[in-house]
């Protein structure tokens, strides 16, 4: 199952994209993704930070789910339990 990660915005206003298969993630991050899928309704309720300026906007898209799951967070509302997953997308080769 492919996970597409996108980061946009920031002080510079750039865009970063990466796609990784769930099975290629470390096991702890696979668990985070599984939790994300199981609790998608809760994560979908998170609203964009209205006054965020220069913050990054993160999007995680899980493609082979039906319907397709796409969740969007930003630096003002990123759940702490997702920060290691975001960092993995940003730093892995």
């Amino acid at each position: 199952m492919d996970i597409k990660f996108t980061r946009s915005g920031g002080f510079m206003g750039g865009l970063f994209e990466k796609k990784i298969s769930q099975e290629h993630l470390p096991s702890d991050l696979q668990n985070i993704v599984q939790n994300l899928i199981e609790n998608k309704a809760q994560y979908k309720k998170i609203k964009p930070s209205e006054q965020l300026r220069d913050g990054f906007v993160y999007s995680l898209e899980i493609k082979k789910l039906s319907p397709k799951l796409k969740l969007t967070f930003d630096d003002g509302n990123l759940p702490a339990e997702l920060s290691s997953l975001v960092n993995h997308f940003l730093t892995s080769e």
Binding site: G14, E17, V57, S59, K70
Partner: protein
Amino acid sequence: MKKCNCFCSIIPPDMVDNLKKNGVDVGKGMANADRGFRMRRKLKIASMGAIQPLVGNANRIVYDCQHTTNRQLALVRNEGAAASVDVSVNNAYDFAGKVREFYRTVLGWNSIDNNGLDIILNVHYSKKYNNAFWDGSQMTFGDGDGVIFVDFTKSLDVAGHEMSHGVVQYTANLTYSGQPGALNEHYADAMGIAIKQYALGQTAQTSDWLVGADIMGPQLQGMAIRSMKAPGTAYNHPLLGRDPQPDNMANLYTGAADNRGVHINSGIPNKVFYLVSIGITTVSATKLWFETLKVLKPMTNFKGFKTAIKKMAKKMVNAGKLPATTIGIVDSAFATVGL
């Protein structure tokens, strides 16, 4: 869609949806307009002495995120406390002091909200975090990855930029999308560079007019994030791509990325500010810009901004607050960028 030459070259359609999701709809714009009106009314009433609002002390409060994404995690320095052993803590504290001083001394504005709001600063956010941001109530700084960027607390103009987003929120509250969003970014850049010049004793003629030059990584020395003097020339390197900022309306970015180009199209008003500063000094230009900010609306676009600046320039010239040459210099600067 025009090509974006920042980190990316392709912006997929689903990203467009994502950006739209993070934009501001008409309903929200109306709510912002109402909020701005109420805020201006409150300031006017307060200035007339009709009420005595509670005024804060504009204290600086620095927290260490300890490389997590938890803000206000560990209090490390409060107003008046001794310096820390942590350079980032001291940078954030000292630069916030310089920003606060500039707003108070030059612009007669008390902290972020003109009501002495405490200045909350978070340092060491996340790991190798290449950014700094304002979230509506506080500032947050990353350490950089050491390759593209270094510690974001090292730059006074970045500190001024982020705190000025707060000031914009409490004044015009410019919507963060399209041209109003580019004006929001422009004001943050203009105030940031004006604060740096003031603190370093520079003039419009001696300043480098570069935003973020102090936080560029080792391979990017001499470059910056934006150039207000020559938008589009701040960087050109394989690590970063090429600076996409236009300096003229003929090259206005009309795509969906970056909240419809808030960090891209800010190059156009940035150039205007540079030209006016060269003509009447940066301090005078900053006063003109700031008085105008107080009357802008959340949805003001570039044309509306030009009209407002010209109107304010006439008012301030007539009041003897700006030189008579200001009006011609402003006209010429806007004409140079195609406005």
